[in-house]
């Protein structure tokens, strides 16, 4: 296509609050979900991890977070922006759409 269209996806600003001892696991869980960790802040015995994560990767996160942190961490999220999806994801979406169209 001449216009070189790109597929955009919603990115959420996610803040996970939990005991400091679970900070490593929290960051790992966000990283696995294509999250971009912005930073961490220490508040008494608690740590807040802030990240930007695609909305499509956030389904089921509350269950995962609960099991990772013995139910001691919680998270909030709000819409942040739209960003182009990575090439691998957009190729998958395009091929799925093409298959659907053929049917």
């Amino acid at each position: 296509m001449k216009a070189k269209p790109v597929i955009m996806e919603p990115i959420m600003k996610v803040a996970v609050e939990g005991p400091s001892e679970f900070q490593g696991s929290i960051m790992g869980s966000l990283n696995q979900r294509r999250g971009m960790i912005i930073g961490t802040s220490e508040e008494d015995a608690y740590t807040v991890v802030e990240a930007e994560v695609p909305l499509s990767e956030m389904f089921g996160y509350s269950t995962d977070l609960r099991s990772l942190t013995q139910g001691k961490a919680e998270f909030t999220m709000e819409f942040a922006t739209y960003r182009p999806v990575p090439k691998s994801v957009s190729e998958e979406l395009v091929s799925k759409a093409q298959k659907k169209e053929k049917k």
Partner: protein
């Protein structure tokens, strides 16, 4: 302008945290009175490292993540607009994946906690920094031993650390080479010491290299800070 051209022309390239031997794990220090531009200079050092493909940890003592992030947004915007950088948005998104902000309350910051956080980041494969900037560190209440431990940590992890320190006009103590209090007794721990000084009859802030940064001395150029934007500029007088 392309990204590579920006890296090559960025005046901050003259500042290095290494001492004369150029070994890794060195520490640099930026000193100034309050409100002169220490944070801005640290953020520019961090941005230069990020543009060079390095991973950076920004430790902010007593500031929020949001406020620290804003410094990067504003500084990059100024650099990109000033240099008419192509694909600025894409470049920003890609380099910010290599930046991590860690904030502490003043009362909760200590070396052991910082090392624990850094190890967490490395173990979880989130980031493996080669540059760290520490803003808001209180040198007036920090014993020399803590800084020696920080230097050992930097050396063991292969990280360059840049600190900012506030100097007060009511404390006249200085070291032999001119490092003001409260860092006059710990200057030997730093490879580079930079002092930001407003100059009378000038619209700029002088970036005076008190110690180290061999490159800046060799090139014979003077670096100044624009007081309006807090951006570094090269002055080839």
């Amino acid at each position: 302008m392309q990204k590579q051209e920006l890296i090559e022309k960025n005046p901050i390239r003259h500042l290095k945290a290494e001492d004369e031997s150029g070994k890794s794990g060195a520490m640099g220090l930026v000193m100034a009175r309050a409100g002169v531009g220490k944070t801005a200079l640290l953020v520019q050092i961090a941005l230069d490292a990020l543009l060079n493909g390095r991973q950076v940890v920004h430790v902010s003592v007593g500031q929020t993540i949001e406020k620290t992030k804003l410094w990067y947004d504003d500084m990059f915007k100024d650099i990109a607009e000033g240099a008419k950088l192509e694909n600025a948005g894409e470049i920003y998104d890609s380099i910010m994946r290599n930046r991590m902000i860690i904030t502490f309350n003043e009362s909760r910051f200590n070396r052991a906690k910082l090392e624990e956080r850094l190890n967490d980041l490395i173990q979880q494969n989130v980031i493996k920094p080669s540059c760290m900037v520490v803003d808001g560190f209180d040198f007036a209440v920090t014993p020399r031993g803590v800084l020696e431990e920080m230097r050992e940590m930097a050396s063991a992890m292969g990280i360059q650390i840049w600190f900012s320190a506030v100097c007060h006009s009511d404390d006249p103590q200085t070291s032999a080479i001119g490092t003001p209090a409260p860092c006059h007794e710990v200057e030997d721990l730093f490879g580079t010491v930079v002092l930001l000084q407003p100059v009378s009859n000038s619209d700029c802030i002088d970036l005076k290299v008190i110690k180290g940064s061999a490159e800046i001395s060799k090139c014979g150029k003077l670096l100044k800070l624009d007081p309006m934007t807090f951006m570094i500029r090269e002055d080839c007088k």
